[in-house]
Symmetry: C2
Subunit: 429 residues, 2 copies
Amino acid sequence: MAEKRTPIKVSDAVQKVMAYASRGQAEQVPLENSYGRFLAEDLIADHDVPSFDRSPYDGFAVRAADTAEITRANPGVFEVIGEIGAGSVFQGRVGQNQAVRIMTGAQIPAGADAVVMLELTKELDAAEGKRFELKRTLKSGENISFQGEDTQKGTILAAKGSFITPGIAALLATFGYDEVPCAKKPVIGVLATGSELLEVNEPLQPGKIRNSNSYMILAQIERAGGEAKYFGKFSDDLEQCVIAVKDALNQVDLLITTGGVSVGDYDYLPAIYEKLGADVLFNKIAMRPGSVTTVAALGQKLLVGLSGNPSACFVGFELFVRPVIRHHNFHRSPHVRKEKAYLGKDFPKANPYTRFVRAGLHYDDGRLTVHPSGFDKSSAVSSLAEANALIVLPGGTRGYQDGMMTDVLLLDDQKGSEWPWENIVPSYK
Amino acid sequence: MAEKRTPIKVSDAVQKVMAYASRGQAEQVPLENSYGRFLAEDLIADHDVPSFDRSPYDGFAVRAADTAEITRANPGVFEVIGEIGAGSVFQGRVGQNQAVRIMTGAQIPAGADAVVMLELTKELDAAEGKRFELKRTLKSGENISFQGEDTQKGTILAAKGSFITPGIAALLATFGYDEVPCAKKPVIGVLATGSELLEVNEPLQPGKIRNSNSYMILAQIERAGGEAKYFGKFSDDLEQCVIAVKDALNQVDLLITTGGVSVGDYDYLPAIYEKLGADVLFNKIAMRPGSVTTVAALGQKLLVGLSGNPSACFVGFELFVRPVIRHHNFHRSPHVRKEKAYLGKDFPKANPYTRFVRAGLHYDDGRLTVHPSGFDKSSAVSSLAEANALIVLPGGTRGYQDGMMTDVLLLDDQKGSEWPWENIVPSYK
């Protein structure tokens, strides 16, 4: 019969795992390929934006002082002494009652201290050169985007570890990064175990199921920001397994095994850990599903044994592997993001363990609600298809009712949480 | 001076664009590379899940009838006639007071109609063969996961056009898709215009700025699900521009130009459209920013002229290009997703045009709030870095106050909206 295992708290389990998490390295990535990667350095403005005083409109650059006496009845007349397209610099100086035609984004010419919009001017007979009439006054600085107004030199525009969004891509271009220092993705290996498993391209057989967990995990790795490497299925022979795990470990930063960690007679992961000389950090957690999730360490490398149950496997990945990947990518809040939302369903039965229920997050007129995804059994694959969140129901003696506020973990998210579990904030390497 | 342009409504502009949107083609993608792609076919269950009655626990399969008379004082005794590991099939039949040891996920043996969990049994002296004692009754069907309980054959598990999540990857594996029919990504070209633009690797020069919009758009294309192709900067020569646009159009499904559509003297896109013989669908929209967004069609191909202003460019892409990409990828709700949220700031000034304000979406204890992203001018690049939403402020005579409910468009989203604008739902090809 199976050995007796002592469950530890989810937060303790995460903390034990994170003690082994390490930061990755930087690699240079061409800017056009950097969307969705993580910054390996702070992005600092190395010049002001705008880098010169410029016009936000098409119009005329003038001296505000020359408009001081203007009234509707007594319009001012300005002589146009030149024009500046965007990207050009006007070489002269704007003098009294002179104006320079200026395009959006062009640099304000010397002498001028205001811009009048095109629509407010009236062209005059151009017999004596190009002139226009103006019927209102301008203040010094009016319609000028000043140097540094948007961003001052030295400002941190995006912190190391930030997910590169389209907006950050624009900033990187602005500050001259044709190559971007990005976090080199950690390589996360996946090895499947279980004699009941068929490969995806094999026909169904009585008593067997196709290996769906591995492909789910490969996608979860990509979503978290890792590089996935699939090593296929375990052999049934212990010696060969040990060789397969050793070999895989040499090629990855972290190795996930799925299946084979049920509390049954056929679980031989403990034997593998023993043969490898790996330290088992924990082999039971006070959570549902996924209580039999097992994590071991060999040197500085983690071996994460996720349950063969699809939901347990899914949850175990997000709690224990995602933060290792994000931490490696320099993320400052590597854990799955925790927020509050309203429950959309009763959970009348109490459970001594913390429950993680895969769920869909919805916005109902500004209110965040979570609905468990369809079929409720932990073996249901189909309910995972639309799940973008996990409802967290703390263990205890009570049930939970529709409309109550609950903790929820957001899966399609790049912001994350620093430490979602309790008030302990551990310090990582 | 510039020509007079007549603005059209945002919804009309989107409708004109979508009249040219077309569906793409399917291509086979290896399952392990399919995360983040869009399904080109409905994913239909071609067998029941589970595909056989199975045990959700480690335990013993028995006949419920043999437990009917059991009490705590009068326990039943069962003889263990064999065991079934996951993936194996038991060849015999369970008879009266017989049991078969069964692992999680294994097929229920013939004759048995219930499973008793390991923890509820007590091993007896094994002198006469392996036996256990049981002190409670079982109902027929107890602890059995029945064939089809999770998913029935024929069920549509994910619709054509769905974004492939980790959960969908698991389903694809379950149903034998080692290759997945995915939407072939539309190729979206980007051509920059503007003599003020420097390439990213050029040093700053007076009056000039680096070309940041193009790289922002390349990332927006990737996020939306397209394949981005950058053609570099326009030459200043009209004839060469026409050749560049023609050449680019031959290589893409849709061509974006950025810049050069300001209401200034230097805008020569209209001349290019004319030389190409392209139909201008509109060249002014009643929106801020981005009112000068211009879309033309040459045959069935769209030429989208986005403003050189970063915010206008950003907004124009999300409103007019994203839905074309998503529609091409078979998405059923291709438009940027519209939801309700609470404003986190006053907008006291009324504006006759619909405003789109880049914003950060936050969850405050189950309440969805939107805060405009930092600096408010439409030229601000830095405010775009963290923007994950656009606040929609309808045009009119009123301002908007902190705490009011507003429409908001969610940018980091795969769900989308069918038609977010008004009650007109157009029919697309």
